[in-house]
């Protein structure tokens, strides 16, 4: 069974440019998460989806970040415009449902903003 797939794996952009990350969760997993991991720290939740619905986006900086999960499968996280402080690893995770909480993570996208 394939794991969580993310692309791209690496992205280097100049500040003020837009960037987008894509995630395909494990087949059959209804819950999808986006995390951000800064250097030397643990991942922190940005947004959680139950199927198509964003049920927890309290940590998402809504002035520049947006996310969508059309049809309740793949998801895209966008930053526009990017700032230097956005440099981090962006991780996508999925779980079978909110009542089955073991989460599985993708390989992440390492973003560098110059």
């Amino acid at each position: 069974e394939a794991g969580v797939v993310q692309s791209p794996r690496y992205k280097i952009i100049e500040k003020k440019q837009p960037v987008a990350f894509w995630c395909n969760p494990i087949s059959g997993h209804n819950t999808l998460y986006w995390y951000r991991q800064n250097l030397g720290q643990g991942p922190e939740l940005l947004i959680r989806y139950e199927n198509e619905e964003a049920v927890d986006d309290s940590q998402l900086p809504k002035d520049r970040f947006s996310a969508e999960r059309l049809k309740g499968v793949d998801s895209t996280l966008k930053i526009q415009p990017a700032e230097l402080g956005d440099s981090a690893v962006y991780l996508c995770a999925s779980s079978l449902s909110r009542n089955s909480y073991e989460q599985y993570f993708g390989p992440g996208t390492r973003l560098t903003v110059t």
Binding site: G40, G42, P43, D56, Y101
Partner: protein, 109 residues
């Protein structure tokens, strides 16, 4: 929200040694997971263990929910065990998986 603390922050061991990593959390938990982040950044699931004891090869984990801690044991360490080990906890009230700051394990040949 729940607080998660891990110790020690760094651990350097000779190959073949045993190690114990500790995770303390501030509230009751419904989910507790241990991950190994390899040098390429991939988070690998080790254990899903909100309570009790589990073993997988050279690794085992124990969570004592009433005392709000979990421990990860690695026996006969190998160089491939090197990396950062994260503990993450969640309770129904918060429904957010909160990570500790990790333990960086270095195994020397």
């Amino acid at each position: 929200g729940i607080q998660v603390e891990q110790s020690p922050p760094d651990l350097i061991l000779q190959e073949g040694a045993n190690s114990t990593l500790r995770c303390n959390f501030s509230d009751s938990v419904n989910n507790l997971q241990w991950f190994h982040q390899n040098p390429w950044g991939q988070l690998i699931n080790l254990f899903y263990i909100p309570s009790g004891t589990k073993q997988n090869g050279r690794l085992s984990a124990t969570t004592v929910a009433t005392e709000r801690y979990s421990s990860l044991y690695i026996s006969s360490s190998q160089t491939t065990d090197s990396g950062v080990y994260f503990c993450a906890a969640l309770n129904f009230g918060n429904e957010k998986l909160t990570f500790g700051t990790g333990t960086r394990l270095t195994i020397i040949p």
